[in-house]
Amino acid sequence: MEVLVCVKRVPAPGAKVPLTDDQTEIDTRYLGHTIGPHEECAVEEAVRIVKAHGGSATVLAVGPAAADEQLRYAIAMGADRGVLVDVGDAELDPEATAAAISHAVGDTRYDLVLFGTESADASHYQVGIRVASALGVPIVGGIKGLELDTAVDDGAVSLRREVADGVEVYRLPLPAAAAVKEGLNLPRYPSMPGRLKAKKARIDVVPYTPEPGGLRKVRLRQPNDDREEAIVLGHGADAAPAVVDVLTQIGVIA
């Protein structure tokens, strides 16, 4: 089972999301970077699939050279190899990102291609769909359950997702793609041997010059946060009467 997982290097904001002076990027000087939570689950799932069915897990990122860090993290989690599509520092629009991934995949055949449903920073909800279309494989998004069936001819995958009124299940013949959501599994922390392996792992770098798509980011801004400071109702257990007064006043206690 050959599995490809596409991940994105994203800032890891805490309570504040500072912007650069020109207001086109998040200022990451004092923040770390990470793989988005959905994609971390995709990596975990790929590692589990390879353990159960054999084959290998390849993790791919489109981004700056520094995305090497995220690829090595995924390898430390258990992925076998990394591919970095080096497009420099600028953020790509979804069409350009998908084209970069499709270019790097080329003729390589993967049985299963995994994405996060949306990236943690730009949230475009479409790169997986665009890549799947270019590769000619079916895709379903929002997936929180994945089961491979290798008993049938070329294999198939059952994909489960939550919807407002329940759960729906899809069954796709392989090769196929899925855009997954956090909750699919609980991603592991990389082990020490995993980290050592990742340090030495080779990352294939694919240089690529992107063609911009039709959606162009002009600038970022902070949403209005004109909330007033919280009213402090008290300290410790002594605050209980004041709390219950408020609960009654807003109508959540009859």
Partner: protein, 309 residues
């Protein structure tokens, strides 16, 4: 002409009104459904209803293909869609097939060449101003946009059935299970939510007790899920559920941005935390400074003693 892609959610009416505020004629499309009498009252004179045996149960790529075939036929200047998971997915498939850009989760739109947009990133963490250059502008509209007053009523809304030939039918729902009628994070009027400060899986017992008394459910932060204290289905936030209860009681949750964007639209937010400087304590409407395991039992006791009298 602007084509609006609607479903049967209340948000669809906001999208319709939002589209009408752009000053162009507006038509509607649904995948089945849609009430022509109601749409006429809202000033919509044409409802395109996509019907196909291939769409008898939901099929993501086929839905996008059907939508694209309609777009090619009616040639709108722009398509504004609700941002439900399904319609967003269908729009992404339509954009992909058409080789057109798609701007998701827009909150401000100015038509023109290019279209000027503001879209929501990271579930509300940041706003992005963007330009969209395309033959047909494809957009999804974020939930919670307030529609300006729409068009005046029209005499009637003509329903045009649209039944395209579809080929992208590989992915389709093959099995469906319905949730029971129980309360969920998305519907509960009160959510008592716990984070790192709860300390353990067992620590949630007192949150359950309080939620029961307030007619609500228990939620949690990502820390709780990652520690295995609660199932992921309880998680509030960017990668969990976005909630809008009457009361969000955040217990021992510091309030990283990823959590904040999941609860910020709650009507009232109350935070219980030992740290008076925690971001969620500062952003809440009400705060109690203290340990969850001292404060919550006292609140439960106070509620019980008042209900006796």
């Amino acid at each position: 002409m602007i084509l609006t892609v609607l479903d049967d959610s209340p948000a669809a009416l906001d999208v319709l009104a939002f589209a009408q505020s752009l000053g162009q004629p507006v038509e509607a499309v649904t995948f089945g459904g849609g009430d022509p009498d109601d749409l006429a009252k809202r000033g919509v004179s044409t409802l395109h209803r996509i019907t196909s045996d291939e769409l008898a149960d939901y099929a993501p790529a086929a839905s996008g293909e059907a939508l694209l075939r309609l777009i090619e036929q009616v040639r709108p200047d722009g398509v504004l869609a609700v941002s439900s998971d399904r319609v967003t997915e269908a729009m992404a498939h339509a954009a992909t097939l058409a080789r057109l850009p798609l701007a998701t989760n827009c909150v401000e739109v100015t038509t023109g060449d290019p279209w000027l947009l503001t879209r929501v990133r990271g579930g509300g963490m940041l706003l992005e101003e963007a330009e969209l250059t395309a033959d047909v502008a494809l957009l999804t509209i974020a939930q919670g946009v307030s529609g300006e007053i729409g068009a005046g009523p029209v005499a009637s809304c003509e329903v045009r059935e649209f039944t395209p030939e579809l080929t992208a039918t590989q992915a389709r729902v093959v099995e469906r299970t319905s949730r029971g009628s129980g309360m969920t994070l998305a519907t509960a009027p009160v959510i008592v939510s716990g984070g790192r400060g709860v300390g353990s899986a067992d620590g949630y017992a007192v949150l359950e007790e309080l939620a029961k008394r307030l007619g609500g459910v228990v939620g949690c932060s990502r820390v709780a899920t990652n520690n295995g204290w609660r199932p992921h289905s309880d998680q509030v936030g960017l990668t969990g559920t976005k909630v809008t209860p009457e009361l969000y009681l955040a217990c021992g949750i510091s309030g990283a941005t990823q959590h904040w964007v999941g609860c910020m639209d709650s009507k009232v937010i109350m935070a219980v935390n030992t740290d008076p400087e925690a971001p969620l304590v500062r952003r809440a409407n009400y705060a109690v400074i203290g340990d969850v395991h001292e404060v919550l039992p006292a609140i439960v006791k106070e509620i019980d003693s008042r209900s006796k009298t």
